[in-house]
Every structure is written in structure tokens, then in C-alpha cells.
């Protein structure tokens, strides 16, 4: 922390107020907490997306693309289905988002089981395809009339995720994200399918020997992983942005990878890591707004915080041992991500 302060001071800015902005902007008041959690919601989903696949020995870098496809389908359900009560419409839109992401994830699962194609590559490549596809749809067929702007119509009010905390933007998606984390735990550790999925992840040969079908576990894992990515997109659209536009995600899908790994792919860990990343994002916004810390410096501070956290976890014998015992058992892993940031212009 002190390091960042030194940098800020040398930039001719006041480090104390900069850090106060970081803290106030992320947890300082109700609204700030709300903003942090609003950002943590998609990160929890994308973190779960990575984690579901990871537990099955798969590396899903495709949460970003799944997020876009989820957003796409949920916005379709939210815009084109009309006249339903919220009690039906909202779940339907969420389900559409889940299905959109899930099916997108399933493509990678299918390519893996049918052709042995590395899911790492297919998920990375499908990210770009999804982003460009959404870009095509919002500038073409789905463009809101009269057609001046490349975004869809806003979703019907009945499909919006209602705000749950007065005075903040925190929406019902937060509860769904918590439920999803519970689902992650229950499914993997308390159901037969989840058990098989984990066994396949640990040792495919042993799973086969025990009469399990690795390919069906892989499909399940990729569907659930994709679905979680899809829910991230659906939550963002139905809860925050209400319309679909190009480049609507600021890289939540890629941050999800780090969230899952920093959270050691455990339910609680994913929640905490998502909140940490949420703090960095909303606090970063506030630093730029209140103390005029340039965005470049905010990147550096964010990177240093991540390095600091990761070094802390590793340096503690308990954290280190825990992490290693997790990692040792899995035939891991490759990763990548990061479609070039697009959409820097109005």
C-alpha cells in the first residue's frame, strides 16, 4: 500500500486522499458498498464459470464470450416477450441467459469430446466470435427503432432485476449470485453427478475404470460453466444496463479466471475474490473521479494489489499448502484470455 502511496505522491497528488478515495469509493458508504457488490456479481458468476470447468479438469477461458451470448439471449427474452408478470418473465429471461451461455460453452465441450480439440483454444476463439456476433446483431437485426443507435431496445420492466437496497444500484442478481455459489457447492460435493465430474477432473483414467463416462461429465461441466458465464451477462443486462450494446463487458469474463484461482476454486474463496476485484474496480473509479489519479496509475495499483495478495497467500505456509494440495491433484492447465478492449468511442 505504501508503495502505491509513494507513486501517487510523486505524481504530485495527495496519497492520503487517494487511498481514502479507494476505500470510500468501495466500502465507505452504503452506495459505495452497493457499487462494489454490483461489480462483484458478474465476477462471482464468471469465477464460477471458470471453477465449474476447472473442477472437471477443463480450462474455460470463454466466460467472456459466454457472458455475451447470455446477455444476448436474456435481452431477447426481455424485449420480445411481452405481457408476462415479472414473476414469470424475469426467471424466463434469466433462464434464457443461462441457456445462451450454456449452449455456447457446450460447443467447446462438444468439440473437446468429439474431436479432442483443446477447450482452451476453442473457448478463446469463441470469445471473439461471440463479441463480433453481438456487434453484428446490435448494429443490424436487433437495432432498436428508429435505428440511429447500435443498441437493442431496453428490456421490459417485468424482466428487470429489481434493486434490493434503496439508494444503491445493488440488484437481485446479487442474491442469485449467492445462490449460484451455493449451487456450486451442493452440486459438486453433494450430488452424484458432481462427484463424477470431480473424479473425471482428477483422473480421467480412474473415472473410466470406475465405469463413469468422462465425456458426459465434460459436457455437463462445460454447460454449467457456460451457463454461469451466461448468467453474468444476463445479470449485467437485466440488472444494470437494461439494453444490449457492443463491448458491454469491461472484461468480467477474464477477471473471472483470476477470481476463481485467487479463490482457490472454493465457494467462499470465489465470493471473497470477487468482492476484492469489485473493490478494486469501484475504488479505482472513485480515485479517478475524486483525486484525479490517472487511470494508468490505477492499473498499476490494481496489479500491485493482486501481486501483494497472491504473494501473501503463497508466503503463508497454510495458504501455500492448501493451494498446492489443490493444484497437485489436477492435471492442469493453460489459460489465456483478453479480447482486445473494444468500444473506446461513442
Amino acid at each position: 500500500m505504501a508503495v502505491g502511496a509513494a507513486i501517487i505522491r510523486f505524481m504530485g497528488l495527495d496519497p492520503v486522499s487517494a487511498y481514502r478515495a479507494l476505500v470510500l469509493g468501495s466500502v465507505g458508504n452504503l452506495n459505495a458498498v452497493g457499487e462494489t457488490l454490483v461489480k462483484a456479481v458478474p465476477l462471482m458468476f464468471t469465477g464460477l464459470s471458470f471453477a465449474f470447468a476447472f473442477r472437471c479438469g477443463l480450462i474455460n477461458i470463454g466466460a467472456e464470450g459466454q457472458l455475451y451470448m447470455g446477455g444476448l439471449l436474456s435481452v431477447c427474452a426481455g424485449v420480445f416477450i411481452k405481457g408476462l408478470p415479472a414473476l414469470i418473465h424475469l426467471p424466463l429471461a434469466l433462464a434464457a441467459g443461462f441457456a445462451g451461455g450454456g449452449l455456447w460453452g457446450l460447443i467447446s465441450g462438444w468439440l473437446k469430446t468429439r474431436f479432442g480439440a483443446s477447450e482452451i483454444i476453442t473457448t478463446v476463439m469463441l470469445n471473439y466470435v461471440a463479441i463480433y456476433f453481438v456487434s453484428y446483431l446490435v448494429t443490424g437485426p436487433l437495432k432498436a427503432p428508429p435505428g440511429n443507435f447500435p443498441h437493442t431496445e431496453p428490456v421490459a420492466v417485468t424482466a428487470e432485476l429489481p434493486r434490493i437496497l434503496a439508494g444503491t444500484r445493488l440488484h437481485l442478481g446479487f442474491i442469485f449470485a449467492l445462490l449460484a455459489i451455493c449451487f456450486y457447492y451442493v452440486f459438486l460435493w453433494h450430488t452424484r453427478e458432481g462427484f463424477e465430474l470431480r473424479v473425471v477432473g482428477q483422473n480421467t483414467e480412474a473415472a473410466k475404470y470406475a465405469g463413469m463416462k468422462p465425456s458426459s461429465s465434460i459436457m455437463t461441466a462445460m454447460f454449467l460453466a457456460g451457463g454461469m458465464g451466461g448468467l453474468a451477462g444476463a445479470g449485467e443486462i437485466l440488472g444494470v444496463q437494461h439494453r444490449l450494446m457492443q463491448a458491454f463487458s469491461p472484461g468480467y469474463g477474464f477477471d473471472g479466471i483470476a477470481v476463481a484461482l485467487l479463490g482457490l476454486n472454493t465457494p467462499l474463496g470465489i465470493f471473497l475474490a470477487a468482492v476484492l476485484f469489485g473493490i478494486l474496480r469501484s475504488g479505482g473509479n472513485m480515485m479517478q473521479m475524486m483525486v484525479e489519479v490517472p487511470i494508468a496509475l490505477i492499473y498499476i495499483i490494481q496489479a500491485l494489489v493482486i501481486l501483494f495478495v497472491v504473494a501473501q497467500i503463497m508466503a503463508k505456509p497454510s495458504g501455500r499448502r492448501r493451494l498446492r494440495s489443490f493444484l497437485r491433484d489436477f492435471r492442469l492447465f493453460e489459460a489465456s484470455g483478453g479480447a482486445g478492449r473494444i468500444g473506446s468511442r461513442g
Partner: protein, 358 residues
């Protein structure tokens, strides 16, 4: 594992040391930044004292841009406008760059709750969140560019005619070409660029219906290498004048012209200095003046919640000086361009007549 246990603290110290070192490097770099800042502050100081009619309370103006402020294009003009507001009107300014769509609302609210009087959102996509936040802060004015929205009492917009800008660019390219093939590389399909490309095609058609305009898109505004390759592909197809509307990535297009020795027409700002040997002129679209004008209106109490359009008539769209091309370009071409701009101004020429019907 005794060895590991013993060295944990050492390792942690080392890790921290490394982070420190890294920070130090940044700090060293930033030391330079500080002096630079001080210098600009000094330069600005006299300008402020000259200002005789200072408003009683310092006006606070904030700006949100979707991309980096140094993109030599769309976002740069907004930043320039903000700087002019500071220098000419003595306002206190702040900005957030590269704001993500999910954060629009939050950043608007953040500035508004800090008591900013005017907040600019530089791009159509800021419209929805601005209208939402504006209801909560009736004393703050929200001004959105590149759109036509308004919401009384406090949301207005600055429309900029990218159609006219593209028309100027297309017409100039069509006048310069010998091969009758010209090209323009766009960033993404967003309203300003779609309008620009429509105008570009219309401009070509107006000058010579036989000129074939090639249009490509990069898909973002960062990938200059891709912009260059797209332009090279156009040159391979026979284009001998190329143009762009892709901000930062458009520099790659100019780079392609440099490499192949064909002429280029810049966009948004005067890009001659990027590569004087190939950039003949630029299709300007400079909203910075409009930024100052609207803030002046606000200071004078003349603010209206409506869309104000800027274009050739208002002087935000047009051509840059010819610089080193003054003598190299035929007088007839220069005359033709001047005439074209005059004709648009006095209404003799209606660009819409030349736009392709969709």
C-alpha cells in the same frame, strides 16, 4: 519442510522489495511527470489572470470519455475541449477516461454528487444513464455528444455532423485519386462512424460517380497493425488515396500510405504532422469549440435542454490547412473543396441527396 518454513519471511520481504523496486521505477518516471505538470500549470497561470470576468463561484466541469484521451481522435477532441473550458472560462475540471458501459451511471452520479455543475458524456452510449442520473441531480447539467437526445430541464446534447465530415473526406479523396478507387478504414460500426462512411460514399459520388469507395472495419480502436493491413489490402485492390475514421488505430492506415507512397486523408484532427509526406489534408471534426460554447451558454444562463447540431455551417467540420501540400495540390482541387464547403454552408448543396438509400 524446514527450509521453506525458515525462509518464508525472507521471501515475503523479497517479494515486497521487488514490488517496491517496481514502484520505484514508476516513481522515477513519474518524477518527470510532476515537473511537466508544474510547467503547464505555469503556462496556464497568465491566461487565468487575464480573465477579467471571473464567475463568482468557480464552475466545475467533468468529462467522461469511452476511450483514452490521447487517441488523436474522438476522445482527444473532448479532452481538448475540456482544457479550453479550463483555460478560457477558468473552470475547475476533472475527467474519467476509458469508462466502461457498466460504470457510466456510477461515474455520472459520482461527479454529480460532488457538486459538479456540468458533466459531459462523450458518446451516444452515455445517453441512457445520463437521463437516469439527471433526474436525481436537477442542478447539474448533463451534456451528451454524438446523439440527439434531450430531457428537460438538464440534459442536452451536441450533435456533430459526421455525415458532413465524411462527405468532405470522401470528396477530397475522390478529387485526389487517379485510379478512381479510394478507401476508408473505420473503427467500429457506431453511429458516428456509420454516418461518416455514408458521407464518405456520398462525397465520392458527388465528385465523380465513377469513383469506387472501399470501406473496411477494424473492429476496435486500438489495433493499429490491423488498420495498416486493411489499408494495404485496399491499396492492393488499386486504391491510391486512403482515409480512416478509427482514432488511434487510424494511425496504422496512415502508416500504410507511408509505406506504399500513396496519399492519405486524415480524420477528426489535423493529422498532417503525423506524416507530412503523405497526409494531404484532414476531414476535421472538432467538437472542442462546441464544448466551450455550450458552457458559455450555461454561464450566461442561456442553457436549454435541447440538441444543438454542429457541422460545416458552425465551423466544427471542414478542412485543415494544406501545410506542405499548399503548392503540391492543384489549385482547382482546393477551389473545388472551398466551393463545396461554401455550398453546404449556404444551403446550395444538400448532402442527403447523395447518400445511398438503404
Amino acid at each position: 519442510m524446514p527450509r521453506i518454513g525458515g525462509s518464508i519471511f525472507k521471501k515475503r520481504a523479497l517479494a515486497l522489495g521487488l514490488i517496491m523496486l517496481l514502484a520505484l521505477v514508476t516513481v522515477l518516471g513519474c518524477g518527470g511527470g510532476k515537473t511537466e505538470k508544474a510547467e503547464t500549470a505555469k503556462e496556464e497561470a497568465p491566461a487565468q489572470t487575464e480573465e477579467t470576468e471571473k464567475p463568482a463561484k468557480t464552475l466545475k466541469v467533468a468529462l467522461l470519455t469511452p476511450g483514452p484521451i490521447n487517441d488523436r481522435g474522438w476522445n482527444a477532441t473532448a479532452y481538448q475541449g475540456l482544457q479550453m473550458i479550463k483555460e478560457e472560462l477558468g473552470a475547475e475540471i476533472a475527467y474519467s477516461e476509458k469508462v466502461a458501459p457498466s460504470d457510466f451511471e456510477e461515474v455520472f452520479r459520482g461527479y454529480a454528487s460532488q457538486g459538479f455543475d456540468v458533466i459531459f458524456g462523450h458518446g451516444f452510449q452515455f445517453g441512457d444513464p445520463a437521463m437516469k442520473v439527471a433526474k436525481e441531480f436537477p442542478n447539474t447539467k448533463f451534456i451528451i455528444t454524438s446523439t440527439d437526445i434531450s430531457q428537460p430541464p438538464n440534459v442536452a446534447s451536441l450533435g456533430n455532423s459526421n455525415l458532413e465530415q465524411g462527405f468532405v473526406g470522401g470528396a477530397l479523396c475522390a478529387l485526389l485519386t487517379k485510379s478512381k478507387i479510394v478507401g476508408s478504414v473505420g473503427g467500429m460500426e457506431i453511429p458516428s462512424i456509420i454516418a461518416y462512411m455514408d458521407g464518405f460514399k456520398a462525397g465520392c459520388k458527388y465528385i465523380d460517380p465513377n469513383v469506387k469507395p472501399l470501406i473496411s472495419y477494424i473492429g476496435n480502436f486500438d489495433d493499429a497493425a490491423k488498420g495498416k493491413e486493411l489499408a494495404l489490402a485496399m491499396i492492393q485492390e488499386g486504391a491510391d488515396v486512403i482515409n480512416h475514421d478509427a482514432d488511434h488505430a487510424g494511425l496504422g492506415v496512415i502508416e500504410a500510405a507511408k509505406e506504399k507512397g500513396v496519399m492519405a486523408v486524415g480524420a477528426i484532427s489535423d493529422q498532417n504532422e503525423v506524416a507530412p509526406e503523405v497526409v494531404v489534408n484532414s476531414a476535421l471534426s472538432d467538437l472542442s469549440r462546441a464544448y466551450v460554447l455550450i458552457v458559455k451558454d450555461i454561464l450566461a444562463g442561456k442553457f436549454e435542454a435541447k440538441c444543438v447540431n454542429y457541422g460545416i455551417k458552425e465551423g466544427t467540420v471542414g478542412l485543415a490547412p494544406w501545410h506542405n501540400w499548399e503548392d503540391k495540390v492543384d489549385q482547382s482541387i482546393k477551389d473545388r473543396m472551398n466551393q463545396l464547403i461554401e455550398d453546404v454552408k449556404n444551403g446550395k448543396l444538400n448532402i442527403a441527396d447523395y447518400v445511398e438509400k438503404k
